[in-house]
């Protein structure tokens, strides 16, 4: 079960939070990964040192929060050390401020960083958009996008792709943006998405998310478009489940083990019926991950079927991470990584889900 704890020396991907001072880097980091209330971030002191935070979850990664006052990309800092093993650069722009300086800084940074590490992914958070009207948001995003693209063209870096997100810590947009950033760091993402697709189609699920419980970031979803409201509902459901199980859940005996999410047990399972004849369905996958599904009430007549399909899904996910774990332990040669992984999953999936779908069909026929 402990898929991730057994990855001792695997390089942790690194995520750098950059941006001018007061743009909200530390606030984002605190809100997303430390569950700080957005209002409290007002009282954060300005960051004077690079603060490095290890996020221990289904994949471990590090978030480096840079002080905005210092340009760490000038020559006096060792860029190789900073950019080594770095997965993505996240630029935070204060949308309520004059952002021209920030854009210059971003372009300068990209120019330098692209020389050191070509695999970097660049993300731009147009932050603090909560106070802006929808038109203004779009206008700002378009403007920023255009300016940066032009500048990059100017520097002959047109093939660098940057993603833009409108974010705010006061709603779920920051989680969604972070989800997409993190997803780029997950090599198994296509497999996971594929698994979710199979699950959805076979269980008549409208939308399924695989959530990281601690940060409420979703690490994968099926290929249907993400509706922000659905996402918010699912995300809130995690809060509800955790809150309720904190109050009414069994007392945790393994306190000395120091597991943080004690209220989130191994068999956590919850169904919420919404007034608009929709059902939210939450199942624990492992200690960090939860599957949250959104489906119509009429498709939820056979919870047993859903449970069975979920069991197959869970097993498949375990297999996926098993490959990774064994790889980390050196049991599998490197070259077998992706193809082996895929093949393994394909076999398992097709078998299991086939049976699932046959049961499904037979069930349906029997009910008819």
């Amino acid at each position: 079960m402990d898929l991730e704890n057994s990855l001792p020396f695997e390089a942790k991907p690194r995520l750098l939070l950059l941006g001018l001072r007061r743009s909200g880097k530390s606030s984002i980091e605190r809100v997303v990964f430390h569950k700080m209330s957005p209002n409290e971030t007002l009282y954060l002191e300005s960051t004077s040192k690079i603060s490095k935070n290890d996020v221990i979850s289904f994949i471990d990664f590090q978030i480096w929060d840079f002080p905005g006052q210092i340009d760490f990309f000038d020559s006096s800092f060792d860029l190789e050390i900073i950019l080594e093993r770095c997965g993505s650069l996240v630029f935070v722009i204060d949308a309520q401020d004059d952002y021209l300086d920030a854009l210059n800084r971003i372009v300068d940074t990209v120019v330098i960083a692209s020389k050191f590490n070509i695999k970097l992914s660049y993300e731009v958070f147009i932050h603090k958009v909560d106070g802006l009207s929808d038109d203004l948001k779009i206008e700002i995003q378009r403007d920023i996008h255009q300016r940066i693209t032009e500048e990059l063209m100017h520097e002959n870096l047109e093939d660098i792709h940057m993603s833009f997100y409108l974010t705010s810590i006061y709603d779920h947009s920051i989680y969604e943006a972070f989800s997409k950033v993190i997803q780029k760091l997950i090599p198994q993402l296509p497999t996971l998405e594929n698994l979710l697709n199979i699950l959805c189609s076979n269980s008549n699920i409208e939308k399924a998310f695989l959530f990281d419980v601690m940060s409420k970031i979703y690490i994968a979803t099926d290929s249907s478009p993400v509706d922000i409201q659905t996402y918010e509902l699912c995300s809130d459901m995690i809060d509800v489940v955790i809150d309720i199980s904190c109050i009414y859940g069994p007392k945790q005996e393994n306190e000395e083990n120091g597991s943080e999410n004690t209220s989130y047990g191994t068999d956590t399972y919850s169904v919420i019926h919404l007034a608009n004849s929709m059902v939210l369905y939450l199942r624990e996958v492992n200690e960090h991950l939860a599957l949250v599904c959104f489906l119509r009430e009429e498709n939820f007549e056979k919870p047993g079927l859903l449970d069975y399909n979920f069991a197959c899904f869970k097993k498949a996910i375990e297999e996926v991470f098993e490959v990774r774990r064994r790889l980390a332990q050196g049991l599998l040669p490197d070259s077998d990584d992706v193809p082996g992984n895929n093949k393994l999953n394909e076999n398992l999936n097709s078998n299991n889900i086939e049976t699932a779908s046959t049961i499904n069909n037979s069930d349906i026929t029997s009910t008819i």
């Binding site: 209002n39 300005s46 004077s48 106070g131």
Partner: protein
């Protein structure tokens, strides 16, 4: 170069230097000042930011004669200072409190006597605040240093207010204020030092170093517990001891701001040795500032709440929105406003000047006891080698009874030495006069056995007599022989027409017809008869007396380590410049050995043979070298001996 830098993490600029305090010798400083005032225009283009700038009170304080008069002047002619004086009083209490609080801890931590002295000086000084009358009495009791420290600490806290017969005058100068070059200057007349505090280091080449220390202390290094002292640095940029602390500020994000005091020095061990002292002083300073800031913070918070009730927003931003929108490059308050103390920088300056001063007192130079013993000819030669090819007139002066005629040819300095090797080869063919310039030539002329014999006897102090017709030969041989023994232990006469007894001189050049008196024992001298051709200086025949048997192998010199080493040097085929340096080093090495041996003999009170053997082992010498070391140690001056035995 010692620098104390005070820096903060500015909301707008990141880590920035607020002030740098340095000490200069007074005369050097005023020379520098000229240069800098000429160049100052170009490096003053920095943007002014109240958060990270050094603020000098607009009103110049009285000139460097702060006596009782100036105090009156202060109070009468500058009414503006009365206000600040009141503020100061509050701060004094605070300072006092803190020092009293910190002192007991410090005393526990005291590592050495010096620190104790400083502490007590500081403690004494605190009393002074309450009982100004006692100053004089105490001063009289204290020695000079103490008095001065006391003055300065008094200075540091009084900041020019309470005037006493100070030797250090703090006068904040608004030097070239129109070009933005501001700072504080204190003159320490007794020690002929001046301490200046400016925004950036006085010498611009130091700027990157200070800047790096500032950035590293505030933005890179982590201190366990976040506040406290850290040490970092490297050979190239020097080392830095930084004390990091935060001050409460109601206007700052998170209600606090980070400051650091860094002590920069190029010597790692010095900083580490001064750790306890520096950290305790920095801590006291930081605590003082923190206490004041805390006071202000509480006061403003209260005021804020009251204002809040009246719904007038004056102090910190109250609504989140206002907080967020307070942007633009609006810097935070300066330390002066933060602490509501217009003299805070002056006080800091005095503190830092005092710490610099006390630190330099901690550094004491120990005179190298062997300097007198350093052979001056070689020494000069050495410096010539490194600086210029001046002819060695000066070295000629050391040779008594110098015959001027042949000298320019013989001792023609280093300029010709490059060609020595070539010369050595060509010499036999040409009819040039024989020139003996270094031990290599001696080796060539005398051959291995005689050379070693001669060298050994020279090294143990036997009288060497050179009997020849040619004055050049005598003088040059004596010069070469003298080159590897301490100058102060040998006396030489270059060319005389009478014999001089061994107890009056070690080396002697005499004319061919001079006879050695028969009462002188043969074992007391080595006589070398050198016959030359009449017209040229070519050596025809060399005779040694006493005669040595070429085949015999049990002469003491054959076991001597010194002789072996010289042999190695002489045999090695190295350029003459390198050869000279090597001989210089060689001599120093043996001087040190003999000093150690001398000390052993004197202090060991003739220990057992075993002990002596072990010392000989340690020195990596042989028993045959003992007479050499004894002879070398005769060259020690009286003072040197005392110093050696005292340590």
């Amino acid at each position: 170069m010692m620098i104390i830098a005070f820096s903060n993490f500015c909301e707008v600029h990141g880590p920035s230097i607020i002030s740098c305090s340095q000490g200069f010798p007074i005369n050097q400083f005023y020379k520098l000042e000229k240069i800098i005032s000429e160049n100052s225009n170009k490096n003053t283009a920095k943007s002014s930011c109240s958060g990270c700038s050094l603020i000098v009170p607009q009103q110049p304080l009285p000139s460097p004669t702060p006596t009782e008069k100036s105090e009156e002047q202060n109070q009468t002619s500058h009414p503006g200072f009365q206000q600040s004086q009141i503020d100061m009083n509050i701060n004094f209490e605070q300072t006092q409190l803190n020092h009293q609080l910190s002192n007991p801890n410090d005393i526990q931590k005291q590592l050495d006597m010096e620190e104790e002295e400083n502490q007590s000086a500081m403690a004494v000084d605190e009393d002074d605040e309450d009982h100004p009358l006692q100053i004089n009495i105490k001063k009289n009791m204290d020695d000079n240093i103490r008095e001065d420290q006391l003055n300065e600490t008094a200075e540091m806290q009084k900041a020019n207010k309470k005037a006493s017969p100070n030797k250090i005058h703090s006068n904040p100068t608004i030097n070239e204020s129109d070009v933005g070059f501001k700072g504080f200057i204190s003159d320490d007349i007794e020690n002929n030092m001046t301490y200046i505090t400016t925004r950036y280091p006085y010498l611009s080449r130091l700027y990157p170093i200070v800047r790096q220390a500032c950035v590293r202390s505030l933005s890179c290094e982590f201190c366990p517990g976040r506040e406290g002292a850290i040490f970092f640095g490297d050979e190239q940029n020097g080392y830095s001891l930084s004390y990091i602390f935060k001050l409460k500020d109601i206007q700052a994000r998170g209600f606090q701001r980070w400051y650091s005091i860094s002590f920069l020095h190029s010597d790692k061990s010095f900083i580490i040795a001064s750790w306890g002292f520096l950290v305790s002083k920095f801590k006291a300073t930081a605590k003082d500032l923190q206490a004041n800031a805390e006071k202000m913070f509480e006061f403003e918070k209260k005021a804020n709440q009251e204002v809040n009730i009246n719904r007038v927003k004056v102090y910190s931003p109250l609504s989140p929105e206002q907080f967020i929108r307070r942007r633009g490059n609006q810097p935070l308050r300066s330390l002066v406003d933060l602490l509501n103390n217009p003299n805070v920088f002056m006080q800091l300056h005095s503190t830092f000047a005092w710490i610099l001063r006390a630190s330099s007192d901690r550094l004491y130079e120990k005179r190298q006891e062997n300097y007198d013993m350093m052979d001056s000819i070689l020494h000069m030669k050495y410096s010539e080698l490194s600086y210029s090819n001046e002819s060695d007139k000066t070295s000629n002066e050391n040779i008594i009874l110098l015959d001027q005629e042949g000298m320019p040819v013989n001792i023609n300095g280093t300029s010709q030495q490059n060609e020595v090797n070539e010369k050595a080869e060509t010499k036999a063919e040409t009819t040039k006069p024989v020139i003996i310039e270094n031990l290599k030539d001696l080796w060539r002329i005398f051959g291995e056995m005689h050379f070693k014999y001669l060298i050994y006897n020279t090294a143990i102090g036997t009288q060497i007599i050179i009997r020849t017709d040619k004055v050049e030969i005598a003088t040059s041989i004596i010069k070469v022989l003298k080159s590897f023994i301490p100058e102060s232990c040998c006396t030489s006469y270059d060319y005389l027409d009478e014999y001089i007894e061994p107890w009056r001189c070690n080396m002697l050049g005499i004319k061919k017809d001079v006879k050695i008196p028969s009462e002188i024992d043969e074992s007391n001298y080595v006589l070398i008869d050198i016959s030359t051709e009449e017209n040229t200086n070519e050596i025809i025949n060399i005779q040694f007396k006493p005669v040595i048997d070429q085949l015999q192998t049990n002469y003491p010199f054959q076991k001597s380590v010194l002789i072996d080493q010289i042999e190695q040097i002489v045999k090695s085929d190295i350029p003459s410049k390198v050869f000279d340096i090597q001989m210089f080093v060689f001599k120093e090495k043996w001087l040190n050995k003999s000093k150690l041996f001398f000390k052993f003999i004197k202090l060991g009170k003739t220990e057992t043979e075993n002990k002596q053997d072990s010392v000989i082992n340690v020195l990596n010498v042989n028993r045959s070298d003992i007479p050499i070391m004894l002879y070398f140690s005769r060259g020690l001056g009286k003072n040197d001996r005392q110093i050696l035995l005292r340590d």
